[in-house]
């Protein structure tokens, strides 16, 4: 699971109002390089919950992201590289996601979060 995905996922178990952001438990993580696409980064930034992303990145060892993003920053190579790495290259391989409201735990194995719900959770 990349942090891009983490930023978008929420717990939608029946009765849960605020299943976001999911807490991350990390057992193993990896850095997997991908090609940087500045246009994508410039576009996705408005869809991110930035404080959630920044906190998750810090938890995974990607420090140094600013508290807020400015149009100027989005033109800076250094910033884009950090942003790209934290958003798309850091992968939680084994671990779990935990709902802040219900405490429901979703395991991550082989980099894939298991968000399957039981019938009584739908």
């Amino acid at each position: 699971m990349k942090l891009l995905t983490h930023n978008m996922l929420k717990c939608n178990v029946k009765g849960v109002n605020n299943g976001y952001p999911l807490k991350i438990e990390v057992t193993t993580k990896e850095i997997r390089e991908t090609e940087m696409n500045p246009a994508f980064l410039q576009g996705i930034v408005e869809k991110l919950e930035w404080p959630v992303f920044r906190a998750a990145a810090a938890q995974l060892g990607e420090e140094g992201l600013p508290e807020a993003v400015t149009p100027e920053l989005l033109e800076q190579e250094d910033f884009l590289k950090k942003f790209h790495r934290a958003l798309l290259e850091v992968v939680v391989v084994e671990g779990a996601l935990i709902c802040p409201e219900s405490g429901r735990k979703f395991t991550i194995t082989n980099g894939i979060p298991n968000m399957l719900l039981n019938e009584d959770e739908v």
Partner: protein
């Protein structure tokens, strides 16, 4: 040949053996890629968009590759862990900006609102019409799926769902479930005069009326079926 939807539920039908067979079939890959290209075309994204797309029933990530070639990142959901494991390997090996989540679309999607610039789905949504478990009610599953799909899309964004309805009633069931949650749009039929190649695309718009594109004429390619293996359960 029998329809896969009649053989077993998708998580069992696409078991490890079928999943790897599926991933290795060149012909399957070609047809899937063509359908994915067409779905992307029908999404009608503005030029120079490098957005985030949702792939519902992403399987081994074949359509994800097409999404990526078109300059977008993607998140895929699928109910078959065996398919997703192959997708995860491909993502890793290819240095892809895709990512996958294990999820049953009939229980909703579990994404925040308005985060996707579009959604595609290749040959997956008709599965919602089959009750493979006794507690699964197709109408409810379709409702949950479309509600959360609508919510996850940016306002005005499209979802293009290529599917294989078994009957006109099934197409109607799926379409009306989409309209009931607020989608506008309708069905585009490619190659309507070819029994084998005929393809249905449900083209939906979240929040803005959409002018339906025309379907393609001509011969086209038939549904890529592979012989169903034994059930694993």
């Amino acid at each position: 040949m029998s329809r896969p939807e009649h053989v077993s539920p998708p998580e069992l039908f696409y078991n490890e053996r079928e999943a790897s067979k599926y991933a290795r079939s060149t012909r399957m890959m070609q047809i899937q890629s063509q359908i994915s290209e067409r779905a992307l075309e029908l999404l009608n994204l503005p030029d120079n968009t490098h957005g985030l797309l949702l792939d519902v029933g992403c399987g081994t990530g074949m359509s994800g590759s097409v999404i990526e070639e078109n300059g977008h990142a993607w998140i895929g959901v699928d109910i078959s862990k065996d398919m997703l494991d192959i997708a995860a390997t491909n993502i890793k090996d290819e240095g892809s900006d895709g990512d996958v989540v294990h999820r049953d679309m009939g229980t909703g999607l579990g994404f925040r609102g308005g985060v996707f610039d579009g959604a595609i789905s290749i040959s997956a949504v008709q599965w919602l019409c089959y009750s493979s478990h006794k507690e699964h009610v197709p109408k409810l599953r379709l409702k949950r799926f479309f509600q959360e799909l609508y919510g996850a899309l940016r306002r005005g964004a499209r979802a293009v769902l290529q599917l294989y309805p078994e009957t006109p009633q099934q197409m109607e069931l799926i379409t009306s479930a989409a309209m009931a949650v607020g989608f506008t749009g309708g069905v585009v039929v490619d190659y309507p005069n070819s029994a084998k190649a005929k393809k249905f695309y449900l083209v939906l718009s979240a929040g803005q009326p959409t002018q339906l594109p025309r379907g393609k004429d001509g011969a086209g390619e038939e549904r890529p079926l592979f012989h169903p293996g034994r059930r694993s359960a």
